[in-house]
Structure formats: C-alpha cells, structure tokens
C-alpha cells in the first residue's frame, strides 16, 4: 500500500484551547503548522467550559499571582509541582490580556475592565478571605475562548485537517517522534503526516466513565498514543468528579453558580456544606464538595424519590443576576432537568469531569520520561499540552478556573518552545518503512471480519466497570476487582469485530479505535489508584483515610509495557519564591 504523505514543521493533534493556542504561536511565526482534529475545531470540548479562567488581575479585589499560587498548591493537596505552578500563575496575567486582545468577549465591570467572579478554593493573602480571580464571559467562557482562538488561526492561515483521526505516533529506533499516522474520516483513507515536532493536545478521557460531563469525543486518544509509543502516564489515579452535574445526566452546572452565591441543600433543606467546610462552605475545593454530596446521599439525606441527589439553590439570586451571569446554565437546567433555576433548585450529583494526570511534561511542553531518582529524559520531537498532559500543576485536585488557564498557558509555552527548537533543528529525521508498519497495523487489525463482540457492547461494559470500581470512594477490595475486570475487558478487546467495513465516514471504525484508547487509559487509572495507599485530593480511600506525606508525596508513573508502576518525587521547589510545605488541608 502506498501511503499518502504530507510534511510540516509542526504537527498539532487536537484543536481545543491548547492546540489552537500553540498553533497560533507557530502560524504567527510563519512556520508550516498542521492541526489535526477528529472534529471541526469549534466542536472541541474546550467549548463546554463555563465558569472562566483564573488570573490574578485584581480587577475586583486585591490579588496577586503568589496568592493564586498558594491556592493552587493547596488545592493540589501538595502534589503539584511548585515550579510549574509558579510559572502558570505568573503567566496567567499576560495570557488573559493576550486573549482579550485577540477578541474574547469577556463580561465587563463598570470601569470597563474584565469581570472576575469568585470560584472554589480561592483566597486572598494565603488562605484569607474569598478572592475573585476567575475571568468570565458570562457562563460561556470556554466557548468564547475556543471560538476566538479558532478565529485568530483563520487570520494566521493555520493549516487545518478537520475530521482526521490520530491513529498512532511514528517513533524511530532512537525513540524520537517523527509525526503521526492519521485517518481521514470522510474517505477512510490513511494519511501520514511527517513533522519535525509533534504536539499532543487531545484533551481528556472522561468517556472512561459512564456518567460524565465530558463529550463523546473525550476518549483520551493522545494519552493512549503516548502509552503505545512507550511514554508513561503520570498521576492517572487522580480523576476529578465535579460536584454539580445534572443528576442522572451528567451535564455540568458550573461552579460559577456557587461563585455567584448559589448553595447546596439536602432533603431537610439544610445547607450541609457548612458542616464539611465551615469557612469556604460551598466554595470549598471540588474534591471536598463532591465527597460531601456523596456522603449526604449515602447517609440517606438525598433528595428526590430515589434520594439520589442534592439540590443546588439559585433562585434567591434573583432573575437579573441569573439572566446576566448564568444564562447558559438556566438554558441547560430547563432542557435537561426540566427546572428553571430562577424558580426551583437544580438536582445535582457529582459527575466525572477532569483527569489531573496525563502525559508527563516539563513546563515548556516537552514530553519527558521520569525516573524515580527525579531525573527526566526528554522524548525528542514530542510535546504535550492541555488536559492530556500532566505538568503537573493540578496535582491531586484541580481548582475550578485552572483548566482553561492550564491549556492556554502551556499551549502557548509549547508553541514558543517549538519555535525555538525549530530554529536549531531545521531538518526532518529519516523515516524508515518498518516504523510506519506498526501504526498501519493498528488500522488493519479492524479489517478482520467474522463474528465477534460488538464495539458498543464492550464499551458499555468497560465504562460500567470503571464507574463501579474507580469512582469517588475507593477501597482495596473494590479496586482489585476493578483491575481484574479491566484486564478481562482488555482480553475481550481482541475478539471485537467491526460489522461495518465500509470506508466513507465510518464512525463505527472510529469508535473501535477510541475503545482501544479508553481501555489502555482505564488500566492506567485502576492500577495507579490501587497502588496509592493514602487519601489525597480526588483520590479518596476509606481504607487509608489520611494523607501520607512520608510515603506518598510522589507522582505515580504508569508504563504500559508490563503494566509497570514507578514513582517520581514531587518538585517542591518553586522558581523564585519559597516552598509551600505540606499542611493539613482545611477549607
């Protein structure tokens, strides 16, 4: 088979906020950049981010990046790398201004400055009064940012490959990444994209769980590609469950609702967060609020006929605030929960939302393979940014408003770093046919015909296993069983067959490839979770209820080969300021 080929200076896989912000840097520098996305760029899941992006602009209350850094370190339950966190919180400020200059329609204060709202886990003066640090465009901030970045890329004439699926990375004998094999969804034909540098910006993998706020496309393709190329995944046991998904459906109700003054009540009408977080109450960190809701429901104080959710009360804010600051939430609640939040409270329950872990990178976006002595080996030619990457700035729990920040800051940093790299490395590395074959084999595997399990069937089974065995509360027993079940699913995967072998826009083939990705990632989650014998951030174990900084202040590193786990120390030394040493985390 002769393979169609294209060549670019830089290949970016994924067209969400991270990929588009990186592409914009590269296109503005007049480099040949290709953005491959399995959906049209504005369909990427950044579009669904609601609340906003954190930056210490101090437009509402006094603020500075160092306070933001403290909140992020504390929010991460001290597992975040403090050099990367310092970098992100400093860069937040110019990044948001740059976005505004690019056209993002931020909501405004009376003095014409960007509107900032209160969000969970934010404080002034290192744990003092509530801060207002989240820059917002009503409750559609992700939409506003994604569309603006796409628009600027139109201006910069970035080359887009819309509806191309990333199959696998091309890796040579020395471990360098030379590009990727892609599949044009419309024609079903493979296309090899050769590039001097490749950036993975494929976003999250929330589809591993059955109930999730994540889109159908969030199948962790980049993470799985990295795994298959011998790159490990870091901290995969830390999966954030957003406290307020619409009960039974999973659609997100932004933390901004609580930032604007909404609060949670149980069946007795009690404002129960006062018991769990006496100071921050409903604006405690997400892991804290999610656990509180699950506890309320478990102890029989849930609402509704099945007592399976709690209520988010908003109506006291009044029609005006709701219409102006939360119009999208109102629309979603009406459609999916059948309630108008201006009149009735919204039924909510935690929903799988965000993976803190991912492909290990340094703060410049280089993908690195960490080892237990703390050293890191850079994978030549490979970069990662956004939710698929783990820098790590979120540690064991991400703060609301820090995910848009992460994708923008590190997407931009990776773009800048690639520009620098290309100046010193202007040539393509040679590519032999043998190294392409492995990627092509991944496609031809699905050409096997005959009877077998269907993709849908196994996908449903797998997502149920993950929900039952890697949810909010995790015991040794539940998770050991989970590991066995995921292993069984992985075995069954070999017997899955595609009934539909047609070429043109065959979404069944795409879903089969996605299922492989999901299972690879699921394994990294359950194994890392089973081994971490402590409770930290989003990883909560009833059998090890305390955080253990002596044995577990370290990152888990999962290698696919041999399902091996390794560990890497946390970088507790920031770039310029003093270390924030671990302290008990109370809100």
């Amino acid at each position: 088979m002769t393979l169609a080929r294209r060549r670019f200076d830089a290949l970016i896989i994924g067209a969400g906020g991270a990929g588009l912000n990186a592409a914009l840097q590269l296109a503005n520098a007049n480099l040949r950049v290709a953005v491959v996305s399995k959906v049209f760029p504005t369909r990427s899941h950044t579009v669904a981010a609601q609340g906003g992006v954190n930056a210490a602009l101090a437009n509402v209350f006094e603020d500075n990046w160092h306070w933001h850094m403290f909140d992020t370190v504390k929010g991460s339950d001290y597992l975040g790398d403090q050099d990367a966190i310092e970098f992100m919180c400093r860069e937040a400020i110019p990044t948001v201004y740059e976005l505004e200059h690019n056209g993002v329609p931020f909501s405004r204060l009376d003095n014409g400055r960007i509107y900032q709202r209160a969000f969970g886990g934010q404080s002034q003066n290192f744990g003092g009064a509530q801060a207002a640090r989240t820059c917002a465009a009503a409750d559609r901030t992700g939409h506003a940012i994604l569309h603006t970045l796409y628009q600027q890329n139109i201006r910069a004439r970035t080359h887009f490959f819309d509806e191309y699926f990333g199959v696998d990375l091309i890796r040579d004998e020395e471990g360098a990444i030379l590009g990727a094999l892609t599949l044009e969804i419309e024609t079903g034909e493979p296309l090899l994209i050769e590039a001097k540098t490749t950036l993975l910006a494929t976003g999250g993998c929330g589809q591993v769980f059955r109930t999730t706020s994540n889109a159908h496309i969030n199948t962790g393709d980049g993470m799985a590609m990295a795994l298959r190329a011998g790159v490990p995944l870091m901290d995969m046991e830390f999966f954030q469950f957003h406290p307020t998904g619409i009960s039974g459906r999973g659609m997100l109700i932004t933390e901004g609702v609580r930032g604007e003054g909404g609060y949670l009540i149980n069946k007795d009408g009690e404002r129960f967060m006062e018991r769990y977080a006496p100071n921050a109450k409903d604006l405690a960190s997400r892991d804290v609020v999610a656990r509180a809701i699950v506890t309320e429901v478990k102890e029989g104080r849930g609402c509704g006929p099945n007592a399976d959710h709690v209520l988010l009360k908003v109506d006291h804010l009044g029609e005006d605030i709701i219409a102006k600051r939360l119009p999208g939430i109102r629309e979603s609640s009406k459609i999916f929960a059948g309630v108008d939040p201006a009149v009735e409270p919204i039924p909510v329950f935690p929903t799988a939302h965000y993976v803190m872990g991912g492909i290990p990178t340094d703060r410049l976006g280089h993908v690195v393979i960490p080892s237990s002595d703390g050293s890191e080996e850079v994978v030549p030619g490979l970069y990662a940014a956004g939710e698929c990457a783990c820098v790590s700035v979120h540690g064991a729990n991400r703060l609301g408003g820090n995910s848009l920040l992460d994708i923008l800051v590190f997407g931009r940093a990776a773009g800048q770093q690639i520009i620098t790299h290309l100046k010193d490395n202007p040539d393509y590395r040679p590519m032999s046919d043998e190294i392409i074959d492995k990627a092509v084999a991944r496609l031809s595997r699905w050409e096997q015909e005959g009877e077998g399990i269907s993709v849908r069937e196994l996908r449903d089974e797998f997502r149920k296993v993950m929900e039952d065995h890697a949810g909010v509360f995790r015991t040794d027993e539940i998770m050991s069983e989970g590991v066995e079940k995921v292993k069984a699913v992985r075995e069954k995967l070999k017997d899955v067959r595609l009934g539909d072998q047609s070429k043109v826009f065959n979404t069944a083939r795409i879903e089969a490839l996605e299922l492989e990705n999901l299972v690879d990632i699921g394994m990294s989650i359950v194994l890392s979770a089973l081994e971490r014998k402590e409770s930290r951030g989003a990883h909560s174990r009833p059998d090890y209820t305390e955080r253990d900084d002596v044995n577990w202040l370290k990152h888990s590193v999962y290698f696919q080969e041999g399902d091996r786990l390794d560990y890497k120390p946390v970088q507790t030394k920031p770039l310029t300021v003093d270390t924030f040493p671990p302290k008990p985390r109370v809100y």
Partner: protein, 230 residues
C-alpha cells in the same frame, strides 16, 4: 417510538432511502439519545455528535422538516413517526453526515476575527458593560448550521451568499467597540450577493437552537452601511 431515518452509504448504496427503526423511549430522552440507540441497533448508521448539551454544534439534523440540535430536542416534542434527515441543501457524505465546507468558507470570508489597529494597551482594552452588552445574542453562535441550511437564499447561492451564520458573525465584529475595521468590513459586504441575498425570510431565526436572531443582525449591517454611505 417509530423513526424513519435517511440512509445513504456511497460505498454500498446507489440511492438514498428511508429506514425504519423502533426505539424504546426512556425518561428525558433527547433525539440524540434516540439516534445513539439506533446506532446501537445498527452499527452502520452514521451521524455527528459530541458534547450532548447544545454547545458544540455537531448534531444539527432535520427532524420532521425542522432543523434542530439532536441533543437539546426531547423526543416527546416530536410527532411520531419521526422523519430524520440530513440538513437540507448540503451534499450528503453519508446518512446524516453532510459536507459543510461551503458553510465554513462563508464564515472565513467575513474575516471573523477582531481587528484592532491602535497599539495594544499593556492590560485589557477597556469596554463598557453597555458596549459589551451589544455582543450578547451574537457571540454565542455555535456554528451548527441550522440557520444557513434552512435559508432559501443560501440554498440558491451557497457559493456567493454569506448566509445568516456568517452575517451574524460579521455583525458580531462590527458591533464590537474594540474592532477598528468597520469600513473594510462594510466595503467587503457590498454587491448584490454576499449580504443582499437576504430577503428577510427569517427561517434562520425560527431554526436557531440558541435563539439568536441573524435577520436582525443583517438589518443592522444594512442600516450601518446606509449610514456610512451618506
């Protein structure tokens, strides 16, 4: 519930046909859920969808003659049997998947990005809340294509008429107090096609799942053009 779904796979079919499916309705089921259920029954059925909450704009289809988003349309709002077809006027790639490239081209053609010519301030470009309010009802567009593919003028001249979606975005930038390319934008819209094929039929307004009003935006562009020409 009975569904008749438009099926066409160029690999095997010589002509399109409507195929019947039976879907058991569950509580709160949206049209997208029903289509996913149909996909469960029949792997070969193709349609685009992603976020499931009406913000990504992937799953615009024509159901019972109306353009709408599958994920925000409860099946109980649809009259049985439900006829599901691809968006009208676009070339069909397969089943409900249509070729939207002309739609995207028209979007690109209106230069849908902020043009600010003055030196940039170190902080944000200031904008009053009143000026910001002018962007409400414009920036929220999710590019699903419901409006443009329901517009007869776009059906007749998809290569030359920008269509309601692109024109709504043209006005989004004309209305932005930070944008400084009003003259160029207006000049680029001159001629009988790009803007003036709109005959205020208002199908766009009726079909927009985000309740936006492209016809009003088009009217504002014409008004501004007139102001600038005298």
């Amino acid at each position: 519930m009975k569904f008749f779904v438009y099926r066409y796979n160029p690999d095997v079919d010589t002509a399109p046909h409507m195929q019947e499916y039976d879907v058991e309705v569950t509580r709160g089921m949206m049209l997208r859920d029903a289509l996913m259920e149909i996909k469960r029954q029949d792997e070969s059925f193709a349609f685009r969808h992603s976020c499931g909450e009406g913000v990504c704009g992937s799953d615009a289809v024509n159901a019972n003659g109306k353009n709408l988003l599958g994920c925000t349309t409860p099946v109980t709002d649809l009259k049985e049997p439900v006829n599901v077809r691809p968006l009208p006027g676009r070339p069909v790639i397969r089943d409900l998947v249509v070729d939207m490239s002309q739609f995207y081209q028209q979007y690109r053609a209106v230069k849908p990005y902020l043009i600010h010519k003055d030196p940039l301030p170190e902080q944000e470009i200031l904008q009053s809340p009143e000026d910001r309010d002018k962007l409400d009802g414009l920036y929220e567009c999710i590019m699903c294509g419901c409006c443009s593919t329901s517009c007869p003028s776009f059906w007749w001249n998809p290569d030359k008429f920008h269509g309601p979606q692109a024109l709504l975005q043209a006005w989004r930038f004309l209305a932005d107090s930070r944008d400084q390319a009003t003259e160029e934008r207006l000049d680029a819209l001159e001629g009988p096609y790009k803007l003036f094929r709109c005959h205020t039929i208002m199908n766009c307004v009726e079909s927009c799942p985000k309740s936006l009003n492209p016809t009003k935006a088009i009217g504002k562009i014409k008004e501004l053009m007139l102001k600038h020409s005298i």
